[in-house]
Symmetry: D2
Subunit: 339 residues, 4 copies
């Protein structure tokens, strides 16, 4: 932490700040110039609140000098994390993966039709929602356990890995036999109770960025998972809220190279939620791979116009097939290969 005292701060004020820093466990370096005194506070703790210093009289500004996360930081594992799944699939390495499926599992027929179609086009992960509490209390809420069983069956049949969203602690156990990766939704990115429990799980977690979260906050949530012992964390950019109203969210493509710089964890982009409109999904999916994403997550539905949720952002199977072809051309431009 760096504390810049106000010009003209008194020696007494400076001493009070030093004392406080020492009490907080920091080692303090003082540097007094002609105009201003600056204090450098170095130490092992990262859980302090810089406002505690900011409000002391005579203090002009305070800055952290270290990231508030450790395990999620690039320097913890400079070579990058590669996550290995049971069937030998690896995420974070040279291959670019595509995770696809319907927003919600609606029926056996629907799920198997979609699964078959996306697998044929090259998807390696099957996604589908089982629990769907929605922003309106009057909407379809998901098939629950039945959906999980169908996902497992469809995944096994098609040779795809299964990913589905976990929304509360009680579902962790329930989902364990059926999924290969837990997904944490944007609204739960800072549900720290849930993150703590998932930190004890022994399965990879796909952690989505909150709609108003900074990348630092996303990495701090990853830190929660990792601090609990689960190092298999995959980050996911799924769109942030901006002033633009034409799209539902604004997919922050720049998050991809930023995460690759700040962290060793793989990063996935979700152009479906990131735009909310079918005709924007393919351009943004291509952009994500061109920017270096390790995977993309795409909603596909065999009959989007009849979908019970998010039909407007689901690709038709033939659109998905075309997108896959485009991605095959783009991946080599970033030195990679579509899985």
């Amino acid at each position: 932490m760096i504390v810049a005292m106000q010009e003209g701060a008194s020696e007494d004020q400076i001493q009070k700040v030093i004392e406080r820093l020492v009490n907080m466990g920091f080692e303090v370096h003082r540097s007094t110039g002609t105009l201003q005194t600056v204090l450098g506070a170095v130490g092992a703790r990262s859980d302090f609140d810089i406002r505690d210093i900011e409000v002391i009289s005579g203090v002009a500004e305070v800055h952290r000098i270290s990231a508030p996360y450790k395990l999620a930081g690039r320097s913890f594992r400079p070579e990058g994390t590669v996550i290995k799944f049971k069937n030998g699939v690896t995420l974070g390495g040279n291959q670019v993966h595509v995770m696809a499926g319907p927003c919600s599992v609606e029926s056996r027929a629907q799920l198997f039709a979609v699964a078959e179609a996306v697998q044929r086009s090259g998807a390696t992960f099957l996604r589908g929602g089982a629990f769907k509490p929605r922003s309106s209390p009057y909407s379809f809420q998901g098939l629950g356990l039945e959906a999980l069983k169908l996902l497992r069956e469809a995944g096994d049949k098609s040779g795809m890995l299964v990913v589905s969203e976990v929304m509360e602690i009680s579902q962790i156990e329930l989902m364990a036999p059926y999924v290969d990766m837990y997904q944490v939704g944007a609204r739960n990115m800072q549900n720290f109770n849930l993150l703590r429990e998932l930190g004890k799980a022994r399965k990879p977690v796909l952690l989505k960025r909150g709609i108003a979260a900074t990348i630092e906050e996303l990495l701090l949530s990853a830190e929660y998972l990792m601090a609990g012992g689960n190092y298999e964390v995959i980050l996911c950019e799924r769109g942030i809220r901006t002033f633009e109203t034409y799209t539902r969210n604004t997919l922050d493509i720049s998050a991809i190279p930023i995460v690759h710089k700040l962290s060793h964890l793989p990063i996935v982009a979700d152009p479906s939620h990131g735009t909310g409109r079918r005709d924007k999904v393919s351009p943004m999916g291509r952009a994500a791979v061109a920017a270096g994403a390790d995977a993309i997550l795409v909603e596909v539905h065999n009959e989007p116009e009849k979908a019970l949720s998010d039909g407007a952002q689901s690709l038709y199977p033939e659109q998905f097939a075309r997108l896959m072809d485009e991605l095959r051309m783009i991946a080599p431009a970033v030195g990679r290969k579509l899985a």
Copy 2:
């Protein structure tokens, strides 16, 4: 819902949209002008996704014409909701209330010192956190059940009502004997599982606005609680994220008159979280009452510089006393009285 077709949309395109709307259960009114056809769709459902229509070919724009909430809307109870607490205190009426206390309950001595001070200055509700999962996994996490017992005891001793935050479903039962009102934090505003369970509780709920939530989204979360049968909902503006970095959040004072117009529910402002800095709490607390808030929620600590959380935004007891005096002068300007 209003559907504006593109200029030059074909009759076939128009018929397809009408058909879809009828299938969704709407009654459709068509109005064809020289340039453009506009369809008005009226019906009882409010849980549709307007994007399902937006993506149909030939459609230019789609707008909802009714709020997606009903029970939380002003027209449901035009005279406004007044919530009565066991000791006769009413919220939403002519009196302006102040809810005060420490961010976290840290010890018996701390809580009782603060409670005694704020009650003496005129506070009618005692607030204090029992469960404190924090954005860093390495920080103080709260005293839990012990904190709840201390809150009850301090509330009873001082004659104040008790409010504390509930963070997961399992805590609803646990907290019931100790609190007079549940608080739902900003991060849980869209934790629909939690809201659904609180809808079955028989205690008032103070629902905080999410940091990037619109007022419509806040009202839709209130709808969740009310749809479950709990009509004693109090809304709370606690600051939204903006580009301004000087304060932690930007307290949206305009949310107060907006909520009063759109909804019948009482609205409270939290200038402590809304600014994150002690010296901004009093000006913003005064502003909230001047704008018509039904209550304000203020963090007070007997020794803020030793607080285990949010000390930087906690008032000293003497600052709080001065604020109360200022509020006594302002309330009459809006035709009200400090409780």
Copy 3:
């Protein structure tokens, strides 16, 4: 400037950064801890781009430790700036002022009717737009010079000072005989060519905050004016863009106490543009005064429903009179008096 090197940065990397800082004219203090080296760079220049250091290899983070403005900062004039107008009116002192008038000057009859009404209720400044280039090229564009003459005449007749918006350099001279204060609109807050010329003017300037500007950026624009020699700068909060769509903008009331802390310049709030809706103007005007604003700026129209611009946010004269009565009750709560 503080430069935190990455953990494990090499001595060579550290030396390159020091060299660069010295070349930029800084005096460098080095502090090497067990984990990390931190460099403090102190100097008189404030016009550097911290990204020039951020991109050097081995650098983890860079922070400014001094505000990029000097003249506009509180420490330049700790006692605060009080601006004296020709008729003895002072802004920034103990009195709270109200500036009122129509959005656009539309006709002699309209302006004089409004001027008479607002003066009777206690306004001390008359506002009115002469040049109105609008976001649609097809809208009313203002009366220009004729409006300025009418404003002067109405101001003189009623004993009010005149304020009107200047939009380009060529208007500075043109407006000089007619106005007592130039207003710079939100869209021109960073029109540095205009600011530089206004810095040479010998009249006060009311500088509005841009809709996406931080307070630091607002102060930096004030610095432009002051660097040119014009120290009579009044800042104006007029609403920022947020995700809330119910209001046109979100009036950031917290900007008032923040400006008072960071700067010595007076701060005015504009609840008319800040909300865009007539029924929100009075609550927000009251809130601004309760938070310590030195003045408020309010649009009033004798027949808002016939206004050529911004009628929806203009108060009726009788609403304005009521607001003035409310402000008279609130000002004493902050130790002030309505002028």
Copy 4:
């Protein structure tokens, strides 16, 4: 415009709204359902303020049903606009162009070195700033006319077209002999006086999106230029302000497909300003082309560490060459070819 009356609005209220709409020149279609009356107002005008209707008593909600722009809309020229430059270069067609050069023209040697390098790698437009008023009044302000002459000379020598920023009306004439395209910066996107004059110019205009502007606002600014008679408008996405602080701005890649849907005008992306950091420029430049951009605008400097402005976001010539190679691989994935 669509006006939804409140449930229970009186016949008298409805008649008042209809009367007002008719006075505004609209043809009104009324549709009264069991709960609610909805009015459709159709007409040729696009310069109304919907708030004028919103504030009438009994009105629940008002929506525009037509875009406030006409000439800039896709339906004005469904086949898309292709802009032809004097040397036969076309923008908006099958070819993807790259515009490159230094942020500021600093010297003859610098400009020619950069021009030669970017032309060799395949750039077809040379960019460079002549006028550089900066956010700090104490920074380098540009070489002015001398820069323009150097740009022309370097452009002619290398066979590249020249683009440079125009900042005020008086510069339009001055720049005319030297540039092939005017650039309007983000801060001037709503400088309507400047846009009106550029509408009379007979040269293409590259119009940058403001940092907090919606795409609709960008198109409305394009409308200003076109309403003045200049149909050669190229839009430019250059990053918007978001909560993310790691990058200077967030490049909104989704603006590319959105503009292609809503408008017939070509769209360019500026990954240099859009990120503010050299190491993010190439990933975002690739993403822009993958999403369908008609061109990208890139800052390149022969010695970025000595640049007088924006050195931190300027590519080294060899980085630029590599980016061009990557773009050559990506363009075919969207059915295009690098020029």
